[in-house]
């Protein structure tokens, strides 16, 4: 133990630079990966908490009238994890032993299938148990407040009855009407039934509804209370997180209408999944890079330590003792790095949340901060574990080194074989084991579709390629680097020549540093290529949906005709789109007046389309809605209305009509405003929000002037389509700042790799350096030597990475297209093709500064004196 502590501790203490940079490499990798995961966890948690006041299932589903066995059909759909019949109603509750009526409490009754309650995760039972399917006596669960109010406990009995009520109303043919009974008329005297209290609910989930004055009963038993009353067939569905939401929605769309609970499904939409998975992959990428850098540091450090190991061995230290010493040192470094990385990761996540940066874009205010300890500890442990495993390889080589050769000052370890083995070992660990364990701890968000699996495999393959590059083509890398170094020999005779010699002598070291730079350069190029494609997509969409429009909000309910009359005076006025008539069915449905469609978009060239739209049972769906839910022209869309489910025929797919910025929803359909009026009793005659379509080149300010002329006193919101387009592009830039940040940190890691490589090369060549200094080499020439080498590393890594990134960009774009449902043009990396290599050179040169300072401190006398 004394030996372990003495050697390991003194080794760290007296090589603080090496220790610090090793710790930094591991810590930075762990910090990024834990930070990203914690950020994602809090993003989903925070946005869910913000959206959801009351607990509700992922989907509430209504079947088409034609279905014989809706529940059975639902259970068979992919993506449905659990189904329950559901209805809720008011009820009167009293202790069964109390006589007389009207003395109970008015409560909210939730009726669910007893066997599905746990599967839906709808309740938490505080005392007692959940409902038992097929119980002989009807059972209920009580909210805590109700149990206190009635003084009921588990085992007591409770009587429930339907309270006297007004007839239920709904919108039928544009009028609010009382709904008649189903079949038999409602009984004059409500039915009362006794139930046994089997459990009391905690004040969460359904137990929180109606301030805890809730009763949950089995649907079949509860239905008896409302005999004769109309109860629409409704089902609650829990989504299977392993099946993508779009697939579930698409399969539901055939026979069901549904409402999505957006609070439950935060981050589950296709584009959100793509973004979150991208961030997670970026985290893995950072961890791989950090560990790759450290692996190489450890491997190079071996050269420096072989003589020390030989001395210890000559003095009688056993191989096992030597292993313990160096493992202890690696464990100490990795543990400190793990703790620092974990703390740094949590701090990073907190800082990003405070600044409104989330894994679902920027600008979200999330006040909660929850640490998912099991996952972050596992991630930190993974980083530490792999770093430790990384130390095993050089250690095993060091243990096998020839003591006699080391004592003589000869090469004790065969460098070519060792380095080849190291690269293979690193590739297996970093491109095989690490991603496998990482994706077990942080699974990809959503369904493992072939596109997603393909993207992940492509990413891992890309990592493997770069990690193994120095193994596969060291000679080629060396020759290329020499070629790059050639002009420097002419420019800076001594420094350039020595740098070229150094490159020739250590092709593997150069290759590893260049590969680290190339990894980051490729990721930057790929990311920038992808964002340019996303920008292109917004441009294309904005051209179709936005640019020639002016959006007006908070209008003082102006009659449609009056507003239109005023706007027709504006030169270049084309059409008026009403944004006030809207409903969720479950996607956004907007009601537009038919005659406003004829002057622009697909209807302008197809009178038949306009005629069918005017018929009232047709819908024009947006491009994104069509892609996400698989709608095509001719398909039928089921829409739940107050009077039942009705079918609409998809007659066109177009973004030309109906986009409104509040909410910024690109999944929508457009129907005739008359349909909205009939089905949902929407007021379609007055307007509080609208889009004014203008001919290209029309000054939008004319619309503002016309509005002021119409309602001089009104303050209203005014946004032009061109401004909104810019805002979308700015939003995109903001959303991708997180990626920029992660890649910025990985660039720091790559710089650390270059720094470590140069530093260790300096230590390895201390004698050579000392001789050169003794022969009169100036500090400037030493600096020039290192800078030349770094220039080659930066240029080679930057060019290689950019070339790889540019090649991968179309693959990334196609994967993102499949995952997100966006139609992405191939924009390519554009100016990043030269910005990235230039940045790589700057990073590599910056990383050379510290090694230069260290090398210039080399004591020529000591170096010359050493064997």
């Amino acid at each position: 133990m004394a030996l372990v502590s003495t050697i390991a501790w003194q080794g760290i203490r007296h090589k603080p630079g090496r220790a610090l940079f090793s710790i930094l490499g591991i810590a930075l990798g762990i910090a990024i990966v834990t930070g990203v995961f914690t950020l994602d966890h809090n993003t989903v948690l925070g946005l869910t908490a913000k959206k959801g006041g009351e607990w509700a299932p992922a989907l509430e589903v209504r079947p088409a009238a034609s279905l014989v066995d809706p529940r059975g059909d639902l259970e068979r759909l992919p993506g449905v994890a659990d189904v329950s019949t559901f209805f809720q109603n008011d009820a009167l509750a009293r202790r069964t032993e109390e006589t007389g009526r009207g003395r109970g409490e008015r409560v909210r009754l939730f009726a669910l299938d007893a066997e599905s309650i746990e599967g839906l995760d709808a309740v938490r039972v505080l005392a007692g148990r959940s409902l038992r399917p097929g119980a002989a006596e009807p059972e209920v669960l009580l909210g805590e407040a109700l149990a206190e109010a009635l003084g009921l406990a588990v085992g007591d009995r409770l009587s429930l009855s339907r309270p006297p009520r007004q007839p239920r109303t709904a919108c039928v043919d544009g009028e609010i009407r009382a709904l008649g009974p189903e079949g038999e008329p409602a009984a004059d005297v409500p039915v009362e039934r006794a139930f046994q209290v089997v459990g009391v609910l905690a004040r969460e989930k359904l137990g929180r509804r109606s301030q805890g004055m809730v009763v949950i009963a089995d649907a079949a038993a509860a239905r008896e209370l409302y005999v004769g009353a109309r109860v629409d067939p409704v089902y609650w569905v829990r989504q299977d997180p392993n099946v993508d939401l779009e697939r579930l929605r698409a399969s539901l769309g055939a026979s069901f209408s549904y409402e999505l609970n957006k609070a439950v499904l935060i981050g589950a939409a296709a584009d959100e999944r793509a973004f979150r998975n991208g961030v997670r992959f970026a985290g893995l990428f950072a961890l791989v890079l950090g560990l790759y850098v450290i692996f190489h540091t450890l491997s190079m450090g071996l050269v420096e330590r072989v003589r020390e190991i030989a001395t210890l061995h000559a003095l009688g230290t056993t191989r096992a003792q030597i292993a313990r010493v160096f493992l202890a040192e690696a464990a100490l470094l990795a543990s400190v790095a793990g703790v620092l990385g974990l703390a740094g990761g949590l701090a990073l996540a907190r800082l990003l949340l405070v600044r409104g940066v989330t894994t679902l874009g920027t600008g979200h205010v999330i006040r909660t901060f929850d640490v998912p300890w099991p996952a972050v500890l596992a991630l930190a442990g993974l980083g530490v574990g792999i770093a430790l495993l990384g130390s095993v390889w050089p250690l095993s080589k060091a243990r096998g080194a020839s003591t006699v050769a080391a004592l003589r000052g000869d090469q004790a370890v065969k460098s070519s074989g060792t380095l080849r083995g190291f690269h293979l070992f690193a590739a297996i660990l970093l491109a095989g084991l690490l991603p496998a364990i990482y994706f077990a701890i942080v699974p990809v968000v959503g369904e493992a579709q072939k596109e997603l699996v393909g993207a992940v495999l492509a990413g891992v393959g890309f990592l493997a390629l770069l990690v193994t590059l120095p193994l596969v083509v060291p000679a080629l890398l060396s020759r290329t680097c020499e070629l790059l170094a050639r002009p420097m020999q002419a420019l800076w005779t001594y420094s350039g020549r020595m740098a070229a010699l150094g490159i020739r002598a250590s092709p593997s070291r150069i290759a590893v540093s260049a590969a680290a730079i190339a990894l980051v350069a490729a990721a930057f190029t790929g990311l920038k290529g992808m964002t340019r494609s996303l920008t292109g997509e917004i441009d294309v969409w904005a051209q179709r949906a936005l640019v020639d429009k002016v959006y007006l909000r908070n209008l003082p309910n102006i009659p449609f005709q009056e507003l239109r009359a005023a706007l027709t005076q504006v030169p270049g006025f084309v059409a008026l789109e009403n944004g006030s008539a809207r409903s969720w069915v479950p996607f956004l449905l907007l009601g537009l007046r038919s005659r406003e469609l004829y002057a622009h978009g697909p209807c302008s060239s197809d009178p038949e389309l306009l005629r069918r739209f005017d018929r009232g049972d047709a819908v024009i769906v947006s491009e994104r809605l069509a892609r996400h839910l698989g709608y095509a022209v001719g398909d039928r869309v089921h829409v739940g209305t107050g009077s039942g489910v009705v079918d609409l025929e998809v007659i066109a797919v177009s973004d030309a009509y109906g986009y409104f910025p509040k909410p910024d929803e690109r999944l929508y359909g457009v129907v005739s405003d008359q349909f909205l009026q009939r089905a949902f009793c929407q007021d379609v005659e007055t307007i509080s929000e609208c889009a004014v379509v203008l001919a290209p080149g029309t000054d939008p300010e004319l619309v503002r002037a016309a509005l002021h002329g119409l309602r001089p006193e009104a303050a209203f919101g005014f946004e032009t389509g061109a401004w909104l387009r810019e805002e979308h592009l700015r939003d995109l830039g903001r959303d991708f700042r997180l990626f920029d940040l992660i890649l910025g940190l990985t660039a720091a890691l790559a710089a650390l790799g270059v720094l470590n490589g140069q530093l260790l090369a300096g230590l390895e060549r201390a004698k050579e350096l000392g001789i050169q200094k003794a022969l009169g080499v100036t500090r400037r020439q030493v600096a020039g030597m290192v800078l030349c080498e770094s220039l080659v590393i930066g240029a080679f890594g930057g060019l290689l990475g950019t070339a790889l990134g540019a090649t991968l960009t179309p693959v990334i774009v196609r994967s993102l297209e499949s995952l997100s449902g966006l139609e992405l043009p191939d924009a390519g990396p554009g100016p990043w093709l030269w910005i990235v290599p230039a940045g790589a050179i700057v990073v590599a040169l910056g990383a050379a500064l510290y090694p230069i300072a260290r090398m210039n401190r080399t004591n020529a006398v000591s170096a010359v004196r050493a064997p």
Partner: protein, 247 residues
């Protein structure tokens, strides 16, 4: 007297096939308790290789090394290491001090290797350093010492382990005349005062005069009939022997 180490007909070859060369050829000799043996030879004669074989760091191509009665070649690497730890102290030509450890920590290293706590033996370690004139330098690091000081630390380290046999590989090779003389006096003192044995390999005739017995290694073979014995080994006699061997 008990023999501490015996070499029996040792051979060591390097390379393979046609490139194979013999570094040692049939070397046989021994070192007894309280004996100072010096092996002289020019560079490349196989002196250091012989020490590596005797210490179990390297394996002979043929022949046997017997250390304290045990045939080293029959031991596992682990057992050889443990035997080396128990029987041998090593003094290297290039000192081989661990650069990150202080003088005191370097000297205490054999104790730490044996699983003891050097702190508990600090008084003894300081006494060893005092004897070698290094007590005031005990907190210095190797790079702060002169060559002579570093070699004395190396000797102190060999002393601290308490092993009966010290192997010294050209211990004055990198030292000044004065420092080298001082180191040789110390090594002699280890035999006379501490009762230890020293096996010295060197090509310095002056160093050989401190030994009880001088053997000459030429081209991997011990020169027969040229052995010098006795307390009165003078530099002239060493030079004569070297000249006779055309070294």
């Amino acid at each position: 007297m008990t023999k501490l180490v015996e070499a029996h007909d040792l051979y060591r070859f390097q390379g393979e096939g046609q490139d194979q060369t013999a570094i040692l050829r049939g070397v046989t000799f021994d070192v007894s308790e309280r004996e100072f043996v010096c092996i002289m030879g020019p560079s490349g004669s196989g002196k250091s290789t012989l020490l590596h074989l005797l210490s179990g760091l390297d394996q002979p191509s043929a022949g046997r090394v017997v250390l304290r009665g045990q045939d080293v070649s029959k031991l596992s690497e682990e057992a050889r290491t443990l035997e080396r730890r128990a029987a041998l102290g090593y003094v290297f030509q290039f000192f081989n001090l661990l650069p990150n450890l202080t003088v005191l920590q370097n000297v205490g290293l054999p104790l730490a290797i044996s699983g003891q706590h050097p702190e508990s033996e600090e008084a003894r370690l300081v006494a060893i350093l005092e004897r070698l004139g290094l007590a005031s330098r005990r907190h210095a690091f190797p790079h702060q010492l002169s060559g002579g000081e570093m070699q004395r630390v190396s000797i102190a380290r060999a002393l601290a382990g308490g092993q009966p046999l010290i192997l010294a590989d050209e211990p004055t090779g990198n030292l000044s005349q004065k420092a080298g003389l001082e180191v040789m006096r110390i090594l002699r003192g280890l035999v006379d005062d501490d009762g230890r044995s020293v096996l010295l390999v060197t090509h310095n005739p002056r160093d050989a005069t401190f030994a009880d017995r001088v053997l000459f290694l030429v081209d991997g073979e011990l020169a027969k009939g040229r052995e010098l014995h006795g307390p009165d080994i003078h530099v002239d006699r060493v030079h004569e022997a070297l000249a006779a061997l055309a070294i």
